[in-house]
Amino acid sequence: MSAQRFYHIPPPGVDASKLTGTLIVLEGPDSSGRSTHIGLLRQWLEEQGHAVAQVGLKRSTLVATELEKAKQGNILSPRTLSLFYATDFYDQLENQIVPALRAGFVVLADRYIYTLMARDIVRGAEPEWVESVYSMALVPDAVFYLMVSSKTLVDRTFQNHSELDYWESGMDCGLGRDWFGSFLRYQRKIRQEFVRMQKRYGFEVVNANRLIPALDADLKGRIQQVLAKTEKG
């Protein structure tokens, strides 16, 4: 990686030296096409001879199962859920992301701390608190935020799942009893939070309303540049 560093300090015991891989993050709401594009990118990267590792939220060995269970019950307070997700995140950071980067992999992250922070802040967490919790995260080489209009998002969500998701509709946030209305309001709030964070963290915002091949070509072009830069070192 070019300028490998952590937002504040590395987690204790994590050797931050010699992380030669590249960390690429795709952010965006559900149905924005993240997993489709990560699949395409992975194939393309491997064809070019890059070893690829994939990470995402709620995939840690440590707490993924319990986290899923807790979400089903909807009985955790927002702060408890935040910290549970943070545990999941750091477990993967320390046990998957860092080792893969040390081994020179390209790590494709299906969402990262920004989604976690946006969700928490929309639910009333203090931004400084959330930022502090995630201050030991690794700074990615590139973050692409797949921005989708609410209309496209609604269409795609119904196409893929035939119903709206409880959490993605922010039904726990008291934005209204009507799922559709709540979905729109919640997604708008999340988008606003991303726009606020974009300035601070320097994401690249990509238009994800486009068809798959167009967005795919766009992402590959951008990632090619990132790789060229990090490989030059």
């Binding site: 015991g13 440590l62 702060r79 477990d91 400084e128």
Partner: protein, 227 residues
């Protein structure tokens, strides 16, 4: 951010100290005393939220935890109990008794290498207790109390994850010594009331009860409804 800016009708009492310092016995006796007098009181202990317990147990058993995730998973447990029990009870005008509080994390996790500033910010949502009793015991006495019963020391409890010594008993000694140093460095920072834990149990309890009566107007905590 610190919750103490808000005035709450309840009172928060926490006990802290090394394993073997007798703090759990003392807070248990306080609980019995306040209950028998008919006060509104609630007791909660470290690492006991049912939801988080499964994950913690698994993480400890399979030794999956790093200093950071060890700290976070305990913070998750604490937040769950804090937001669902402690804070609502404080708002409702209860005396809340805590066997271990955020200072347990501050001392243990800092010993494991977590950044002190990071820990303090993470727990920034938690009130500083009205009374924090720190049961102070010389290290060798505390160790003696734990070790004389041929204990089954657990991996994380003994700080084995820090690689201090391959011998679990020796690791426990070194780890507890460092935790004690961390505790002592917080006495002034958080206004601990230091209790001499070498005194007989009854003598300590007498002091503790006197201190609570001096600092808390217990008459305000009589049960509102006869049960």
């Amino acid at each position: 951010m610190r919750q103490n800016e808000e005035n709450l009708p309840g009172k928060l009492i926490a006990v802290e100290g090394l394993d073997g310092s007798g703090k759990s016995t003392q807070i248990h006796l306080v609980h019995q005393w306040l209950k028998s007098k008919g006060y509104r009181v609630f007791f909660t202990e470290w690492n006991s939220s049912s939801l988080v317990r499964e994950a913690t147990k698994k993480g400890k058993k399979r030794q999956l935890l790093t200093p950071t995730t060890f700290s976070l998973i305990h913070a998750t447990d604490f937040a769950d109990r804090y937001e669902r029990q402690m804070l609502p009870l404080l708002r409702a005008g209860y005396i809340v008794l805590c066997d271990r509080y955020i200072f347990t994390s501050f001392s243990r996790d800092a010993t494991r290498g977590c950044d002190r500033g990071w820990l303090r910010k993470m727990y920034g949502f938690a009130r500083i207790p009205d009374i924090t009793l720190f049961f102070r015991l010389p290290l060798d006495v505390a160790l003696g109390r734990i070790l004389e019963g041929r204990p089954q020391l657990k991996y994380f409890e003994a700080g084995m994850d820090l690689g201090l010594s391959p011998d679990i008993t020796e690791s426990f000694r070194i780890f507890q010594g460092r935790v004690l140093e961390q505790y002592l460095s917080m006495v002034d920072e958080f206004g601990f009331t230091v209790m001499d834990a070498t005194l007989p149990v009854h003598a300590q309890q007498t002091k503790v009860r006197r201190l609570i009566q001096e600092r808390i107007d217990l008459a305000l905590f009589h049960k509102r409804l006869s049960s």
